[in-house]
Amino acid sequence: MTAQQPGANSVTKPSLETTVKMGEIAVSRDGGLLRTLLGSCLGVVLYDRRWRAAAMAHIVLPESRGQQEHLGKFADTAIPEMIRRLGSLLGDHPLKLTAKIAGGANMFAVNSAAATIGQQNVSAVEKLLDERRILIIGRHVGGTQGRRMALDVATGIVTIDVVGATSTEL
């Protein structure tokens, strides 16, 4: 099970861990763990419980402004691409997706452009999911600390770790 490059489309093997790096998307079915580390970036999980199929994206910025090279990097290209890859994974089965999101922290502002990007990512993803009638059933966003997000693909449970705090399940 590996994180995929843009445009790649492979079925992942269960019982392994995949780290989803900045701007990447990974999909998995039946088992395994998808994980990512988040600061101001936003982690998005789309999950189909019937088929135990999941996609995770590590979104960096809210808008692609026409860029098509790194689809997982931007909210407006990552969400459609996650749905497309899950559709390819499940073939003819119609998708019935729910979402969980985490991240979007405002850790510190090295420059003014960075100060609000976390919240902008959250707002963009909320809007995109609402437009597609995908319900957000778990969220752990905002604040000033980073997060480790891990999805158990077999159960759909997302675990959030924050340095110095106990784990939270979504």
């Binding site: 790096k21 900045m22 701007g23 990447e24 580390l37 988040l38 600061g39 101001s40 970036c41 960096v60 910025l61 090279e69 790194h70 990097k73 922290a105 850790m107 510190f108 502002a109 090295v110 420059n111 452009a113 960075a114 990007i117 600390q145 980073g146 997060r147 480790r148 340095v163 110095g164």
Partner: protein, 202 residues
């Protein structure tokens, strides 16, 4: 993207900047400190967040924003043990005395960042002046953070990520009395400053 030759030339430029920072750090800690610029790097954003090693490990970092002719961030990063060892040294306490991030410990590492960072920037400023560029470089007061390395670096890289998938950074190592210390000084210019750096090479 910069060529290998340009990266080598910039590495030489930043090594000059590190000499003043080494001197300032030596005076501050009362030991022979050497700050060595390893290399000016261009890394894919997914790999750049691992530049400090294990990206899932909590680290501590002091971050200064830079304004002026060059803008960006300057970050002193260290693991807990190395940060507390520095505090012991500065407060003239027996090794192992500090073992938590209280106000005193944070203050010690923030002041160290201030001194080392300002010396580094002063040297770069003089270099800018020699090259006919406006020499102003203004650091913000440093901020302390303890978090996952990857999460901290995402925020530091954010400006560059807005316009590129490649991160340009200067990685620096410390030696104290000739022994490697587990501190890293990272200089991460904003995307708008990279053309200025190119001009410095011309």
């Amino acid at each position: 993207m910069l060529t290998e030759r340009q990266l080598d030339a910039l590495t030489a430029v930043f090594r000059e900047g590190a000499q003043d920072a080494s001197l300032a750090c030596s005076r501050w800690v009362g030991r022979t400190a050497q700050i060595v610029v390893q290399r000016v790097e261009q890394l894919d954003m997914g790999d750049a967040v691992a530049v400090l090693g294990a990206s899932e490990e909590p680290i501590s970092a002091c971050i200064m924003a830079i304004e002026g002719r060059l803008t960006g961030g300057l970050m002193l990063a260290f693991d807990d043990a190395s940060g507390w060892a520095l505090t012991d040294l500065l407060l003239e306490l027996p090794p192992g005395s500090c073992s938590a991030w209280g106000e005193l410990e944070r203050s010690a590492v923030l002041e160290t960042t201030n001194i080392v960072g300002c010396a580094y920037l002063n040297s770069l400023s003089r270099l800018l002046q020699r090259l006919g560029e406006p020499p102003e470089l203004m650091p913000s007061p440093p901020q302390f953070a303890r978090d996952y390395a990857s999460a901290i670096l995402q925020s530091v890289f954010l400006n560059q990520v807005m316009s590129s998938d490649t991160i340009f950074l200067t990685e620096t190592r410390f030696h104290l009395d000739g022994t490697p210390a587990n501190w890293n000084l990272l200089f991460v210019p904003d995307a708008d400053s990279i053309p200025t750096l190119r001009r410095m090479l011309a």
